[in-house]
Amino acid sequence: MPVTENWKPTIVAFCCNWCSYAGADLAGSSRLAYPADVKIIKVPCSCRVNPMFILRAFEKGADGVILCGCHPGDCHYSTGNYYARRRMTLLFSMLDYLGVEEGRTRVEWVSAAEGVKFSETMNSFVEKVRALGPNVRLGDLRCKN
């Protein structure tokens, strides 16, 4: 696909309120830069993220979707991220199965203290999505001829 040099990916990052959103805040107050392509949506817990939101984002033009939550075992609601982990494991496996490039989805556990990890995660994720170029597959899974 033709990718212009100035092409910027659209990245949606779902962050749980208790760990990862706070980790993103810490990245901010520590001035740890990551690309402006990343837009964060706050959710109470990673388990609030419905696979439909992720598919929706892709369908509406997102090039990458990342979900960040508390580390397993550290969920504010005790168990939320464990459910999220299973859901996302299956969803990502399905997306791989459909031939959607694997670099477009990711789950990362980022604690409130991990500003550095948040920034590093976003940098590496964006880099990967940029390398893949614009997402057309999920937006175009059902081409009507």
Binding site: V12, D25, A36, I40, C47, R48, A62, C70, H76
Partner: protein
């Protein structure tokens, strides 16, 4: 259609230097439903809030978006401002254009573009926000303190003095913690036991304090104001009510080979023991792994000698369940294991010891009865070398990246005490930096140098080589002289890094309190909320939050107590109205949501439903909003979308997604 106002904060130059705030205002006015938009240097200021109030009135706003710092900073401020001015606080959304935008991006065009998108997402969400009313929940007026060291004792005393009941859970047989192991304390050199024991006694005799020693927290459920905690009271095999603490059992016990934990394993103790003379309660425990009777069924000597019949080999662990409104973590610290520091010959030579072991050696109740002697041959050491920063300030995998904070001061203390009591013993300290911020701290260190002649050498030690004659050859460096130093010593003391108690991870998990990469508990805000955990109702006291000395620990313990008292003083707490809710017309009654609810907040009832004219009895999910904490796990298990989360509804989140991807 909502009438939405957008308020863009400059945050001085924090936002405005990187984000073109005027442009954000201009773009906001083009959004559907936005009837007013303005920017202001400090929206959170009094004057900023007045402007918001005026805009709400003038434009009859039914929703508002503040583009500012993180909602974790000022969401509450702006929601209160809205509420005061007649707008439901849950019709306010924050677009985080500082932490998530201006502070991490350098290019103004790029940052402005992102700020506009974040604003749009917030506007899109507000369109779908519903006015919500916070509920209320009762507060259990009792606090739990986990850990009975100086931090836990002080917190408990302060809470108890304010008139609230408080329980201390301590896993060891006695309260007292690390401080009870110390000999003297810096910078005053007063005796640790002399200042600690009265507090222990006060805690034990306080009418509002219940102490559970030899006990551990097993399970925690509930939430702020309403925690339910299971406490395992480990079998003591001694009846607390009957025992008089006479100590005969310990003298008579034939199993005396167990390492004495209180003396850091430097000597041994009996199988039935109290850790130290001033133990509270002064009731021994039987170490089941060492007791001959419990292991083989034969012996029973302690039972025979106990005149009051307090020994009970049949005791078992007991689980008690208690209710608390607040929980304080005061689990303290331990020194790190030194098995990865073979170059210092710890474990290889008995005369290489940690500072905490030296505390026990210097203490009159310690393994050498307070005489400074080598553990290898009992001789008095004439040359002692202290090595600083053993395992602290390390970025490798052997040690800890942080400064343990207390070592510089206790080393100065040890050096001074030794020089004072044994003037013919030379003391050398190898240091990297001497860190003495604190009242009278640097003066204290200087006294060690100037008045006591302690030899401080700037430079680290590379190796400690035990010699055939029993001495230790210390290979160090003097960086100021630029010389390698070979120093023969009789004893080497390692200022070993401290780390949070190993149990803290387990406890943090039970409390869902967050923990950092070094296993220190995270505070809600590093500057402004240093004694609160981000988990409501959980507070932090002492070294579990970060390295600190005794005065700091006591100060923090008091601060944590004040926070607890402030919580317990309330009769009711406002509850989060962002709870789950089932739509009876869509609900299948399939029970999947209840399976994932961590709070047991979902039940089912059969209800007559009128579904577009069809009237039938249906099994419908019902959420108990007092129990629901709003995680949203249920919403995703619900295939029909009947279960939704107020404040973070499916449609709201999809609107945000759409706005970002637009």
């Amino acid at each position: 259609m909502r009438r939405i106002g957008v308020f863009v904060c400059h945050c001085g130059s924090n936002i405005a230097a990187t984000v073109d705030v005027k442009k954000v205002v201009e773009m906001a006015l083009q959004e559907q439903g936005v009837v007013h938009a303005e920017d202001y240097p400090y929206m959170c200021s009094e004057a900023g809030q007045v402007r918001i109030a005026e805009a709400i009135r003038e434009h009859q706003l039914t929703g508002m978006v503040v583009c500012s710092c993180s909602p974790r900073m000022h969401e509450a401020t702006f929601r209160k401002c809205a509420e005061r001015n007649g707008l439901n606080p849950y019709l306010v959304e924050i677009a985080n254009i500082r932490e998530h935008c201006s502070w991490i991006h350098k290019d103004m065009a790029e940052a402005t573009e992102k700020a506009v998108i974040l604003m749009r997402a917030a506007v899109a969400k507000v369109h779908l926000n519903a006015p919500l009313q916070a509920g209320e929940s009762a507060v259990t007026k009792r606090a739990l303190v986990i850990g009975g060291g100086i931090a836990g004792i002080q917190t408990a005393l302060d809470i108890a003095d304010a008139g609230y009941k408080v329980d201390i859970v301590e896993k060891e047989p006695s309260i007292g913690g690390r401080m009870s192991q110390l000999d003297k304390t810096f910078p005053t050199l007063d005796c640790s036991a002399c200042i600690l024991t009265p507090k222990m006694v006060e805690a034990a005799s306080h009418e509002n304090i219940t102490i559970h020693t030899w006990s551990e927290v097993e399970k925690v459920s509930g939430f702020v104001g309403n925690f339910t905690v299971d406490i395992r009271k480990k079998a003591r095999y001694v009846d607390m009510d009957k025992c008089t603490g006479c100590g005969v059992c310990q003298e008579k016990c034939p199993s005396k080979k167990s390492l004495n934990e209180f003396n850091r394993g430097l000597n041994t103790r009996s199988a039935i023991y109290t850790p130290f003379a001033q133990a509270i309660p002064n009731v021994p425990v039987i170490d089941a792994t060492a007791c001959i009777k419990l292991k083989t069924g034969k012996c029973g000597i302690c039972e025979k000698f106990c005149q009051v019949g307090a020994i009970n080999y049949a005791q078992t662990d007991e689980i008690i369940t208690e209710q608390y409104g607040a929980i304080v973590v005061a689990t303290g610290f331990d020194t790190i294991k030194l098995d990865k520091y073979g170059e210092y010959a710890y474990g290889h030579s008995k005369d290489v010891i940690t500072s905490l072991e030296l505390e026990r050696i210097m203490n009159a109740a310690g393994p050498t009865k307070g005489h400074l002697e080598r553990l290898s041959d009992g001789k008095a050491p004439k040359e002692i070398v202290f090595i600083q920063c053993v395992g602290s300030r390390c970025s490798d995998d052997r040690g800890k990246p942080y400064c343990s904070k207390i070592c510089c001061m206790y080393t100065a203390k040890h050096a001074m005490l030794i020089r004072d009591k044994y003037p013919d013993t030379n003391v050398t300290v190898f240091y990297i930096d001497v860190r003495t911020p604190g009242k009278n701290f640097d003066e204290f260190y200087r006294r060690a140098v100037e008045d006591y002649g302690v030899n401080y050498i700037k430079g680290q030690v590379g190796k400690v080589a035990p010699q055939p004659d029993g001495s230790l050859l210390v290979h160090g460096v003097d960086l100021l002289e630029n010389k390698q130093i070979l120093k023969k010593a009789d004893m080497v003391v390692l200022a070993t890094a401290i780390e949070p108690n190993a149990d803290v991870r387990k406890i943090a998990t039970m409390l869902t309190a967050s923990i950092d990469t070094n296993n220190f508990l995270t505070e809600a805000h590093p500057k402004l909320r240093p004694v609160e955990s981000p988990t409501a109702g959980v507070f932090l006291s002492g070294v579990c939050q970060g390295p600190k000395d005794i005065p700091e620990t006591v100060a923090q313990a008091g601060a944590a107590a004040v926070k607890v008292i402030g919580l317990l003083a309330k009769d009711k707490l406002k509850t989060n109205p962002c709870t789950a809710k089932a739509d009876e017309l869509r609900c299948n009654g399939c029970s999947q949501c209840a399976n994932v609810c961590p709070y047991g907040a979902i039940s089912y009832e059969t209800r007559l439903v009128n579904d577009h004219g069809i009237r039938e009895d249906r099994r419908i999910a019902v959420v108990n909003s007092a129990l629901c904490q709003g995680c949203g796990a249920c919403t995703v298990t619900c295939p029909s979308g009947a279960m939704d989360l107020q404040g973070f509804s499916n449609r709201q989140l999809i609107a945000e997604v759409d706005a970002i991807c637009r």
